[in-house]
C-alpha cells in the first residue's frame, strides 16, 4: 500500500483521536501533520501492512505527548454549539460529557470507538495490561453515563423553573 493511501484512509480518525488527546483543533491538526511526516520517514521499515493503523495511531500519540511538553496551555477549545445541529442533541450532550472526561478515560474510548481497536490492542498502544485497559473503558462509560444523566437532570430542573 502506498503511504499516501494509508494517510488518506485514516486521516479523519487520526485527527479525531488527536483532538481527544489535545482537546484543541489547531493542536490536533499540528500533531497529525507532524506525526505523518515522522510516519513517512519510518514507513519503509514498516513490514506488516496489517499493523499500519495501530502504528499510525501510536505515532500520533507519541507526537501529541512530545508537542504537549512544549506547547502553551489549551486554547480555542471546540465550541459545541458551532459543530452540532440542534437535532443532534444526544451527540451534543455526549460531546459535552466527553469534554469533562479525564484524558485517561477519553483516550481508550477514542481508540476503541474511532480506531476500532480491541482491548488487547488498546493495552498495547497505552503500554498497559489488557485488564487495566478494560477497567478504564468500563469506568469511562460509567463516568459518561453519570455526566450525561446529571446534565439531563440539571436541564430538567432548569426547564421547570
Amino acid at each position: 500500500m502506498r503511504f499516501e493511501d494509508l494517510v488518506r484512509r485514516h486521516a479523519a480518525d487520526l485527527y479525531r483521536y488527536a483532538f481527544w488527546l489535545a482537546r484543541d483543533r489547531q493542536q490536533a491538526e499540528d500533531v497529525v501533520q507532524e506525526a505523518m511526516l515522522r510516519a513517512w520517514r519510518g514507513f519503509p521499515r514498516l513490514r506488516e501492512g496489517a499493523a499500519a493503523k495501530s502504528w499510525l495511531f501510536s505515532i500520533v500519540r507519541n507526537e501529541h505527548y512530545r508537542m504537549a511538553g512544549r506547547s502553551a496551555p489549551l486554547a480555542d477549545v471546540i465550541g459545541l454549539e458551532e459543530i452540532a445541529a440542534p437535532d443532534e442533541r444526544p451527540a451534543l450532550e455526549m460531546r459535552d460529557a466527553l469534554m469533562s472526561l479525564p484524558a485517561s478515560y477519553a483516550e481508550p474510548l477514542a481508540l476503541q470507538v474511532l480506531g476500532g481497536f480491541t482491548c488487547a490492542e488498546i493495552a498495547a498502544l497505552l503500554g498497559t495490561t489488557e485488564g487495566a485497559a478494560m477497567t478504564r473503558l468500563t469506568r469511562a462509560r460509567q463516568a459518561l453515563r453519570r455526566l450525561v444523566s446529571a446534565g439531563n437532570a440539571a436541564e430538567r430542573r432548569g426547564g421547570r423553573s
Binding site: 494517510v7 486521516a11 455526549m94
Partner: protein
C-alpha cells in the same frame, strides 16, 4: 452468564459475544439494557466524531509533499556539504604532503639504489622521532632506507599493514605544528607532527593512510 456479567461485558464495549446474546434473548431486563446501551453507543460514536476541518486530508497530503521536498532538499544539502568537505580535504595540496607524494612517485626508485639500513642502525637514528617499536606496533616493516629529501636526510619505510602497503617518510628535520594533506595522481598523503620532526604517510587508499597517520601521530 448472569445479568451482572452481561452488563459488565457491555460496559467494556467489546461488543456482544454469542454467549451474551443467548443471555439477552432469555432476559427481559437485559433486553431493555441492551436497547439503552445501543443508543448510548450511537451517541458516544457521534460525540467522539468531532468534525474534521474541511479539506483536512488534502491539507495533510499537501503539507506532506511540501515537507518531504524540504526534507529531501535538506538531506541533499547535507550530502553535498559532506561531498564538498571531502573534496576540499582530498583536493588540498599542502607542500610537505605533496612533496611526500612526489618522493614516492619519482624518488623512490633512486633511494632503493642506496640500499637498506640494518634494523639496529635505523632504531638508533629514529629513536628520538619515531621509535621502530611504534611502527612495528601497527604493521610489518618491509625495509628502511635513508634518502635525500628536500635538502635533508629522511628515512623511507615500506610498511605492510593488514589493509595493504603504505610508504612512510620519517623526516626528523622537518617540524610541523599541524598535519598536512595532499592528494595527487591517485595517491594520498598525510604528514603528521612527531615529537621531533614529522612523518609522511603515502598510499593509494585515503582511509588506510589516515588510519596509519593517526596511529603514528605524536
Amino acid at each position: 452468564m448472569n445479568c451482572l456479567d452481561y452488563r459488565r461485558a457491555l460496559l467494556a464495549g467489546e461488543g456482544e459475544s454469542a454467549e451474551m446474546k443467548v443471555h439477552r434473548l432469555q432476559c427481559a431486563a437485559c433486553i431493555e439494557v441492551w436497547r439503552e446501551h445501543a443508543d448510548f453507543e450511537a451517541a458516544l460514536r457521534q460525540g467522539l466524531e468531532v468534525p474534521v476541518p474541511p479539506g483536512f486530508e488534502a491539507a495533510v497530503a499537501s503539507s506532506l509533499v511540501q515537507r518531504r521536498r524540504r526534507f529531501l532538499a535538506a538531506a541533499a544539502v547535507s550530502v553535498l556539504a559532506i561531498g564538498v568537505g571531502t573534496y576540499a580535504w582530498l583536493g588540498r595540496e599542502d607542500p610537505l604532503a605533496l612533496a611526500s607524494i612526489d618522493f614516492v612517485m619519482k624518488e623512490e626508485a633512486k633511494s632503493i639504489m642506496m640500499g637498506a639500513m640494518p634494523r639496529d642502525d635505523a632504531a638508533i637514528v629514529l629513536a628520538d622521532s619515531l621509535p621502530l617499536e611504534r611502527i612495528e606496533g601497527i604493521g610489518r616493516i618491509a625495509h628502511i632506507r635513508p634518502c635525500p629529501f628536500n635538502g635533508a636526510t629522511a628515512y623511507h619505510v615500506v610498511l605492510a599493514v593488514p589493509q595493504g602497503k603504505v610508504t612512510l617518510l620519517v623526516m626528523p628535520g622537518f617540524a610541523l605544528k599541524s598535519g598536512q594533506h595532499a592528494a595527487h595522481e591517485g595517491l594520498h598523503a598525510v604528514v603528521t607532527p612527531l615529537v621531533k620532526g614529522s612523518v609522511g604517510v603515502v598510499g593509494s587508499d585515503a582511509g588506510v593512510v589516515n588510519s596509519v597517520a593517526g596511529a603514528l601521530g605524536a
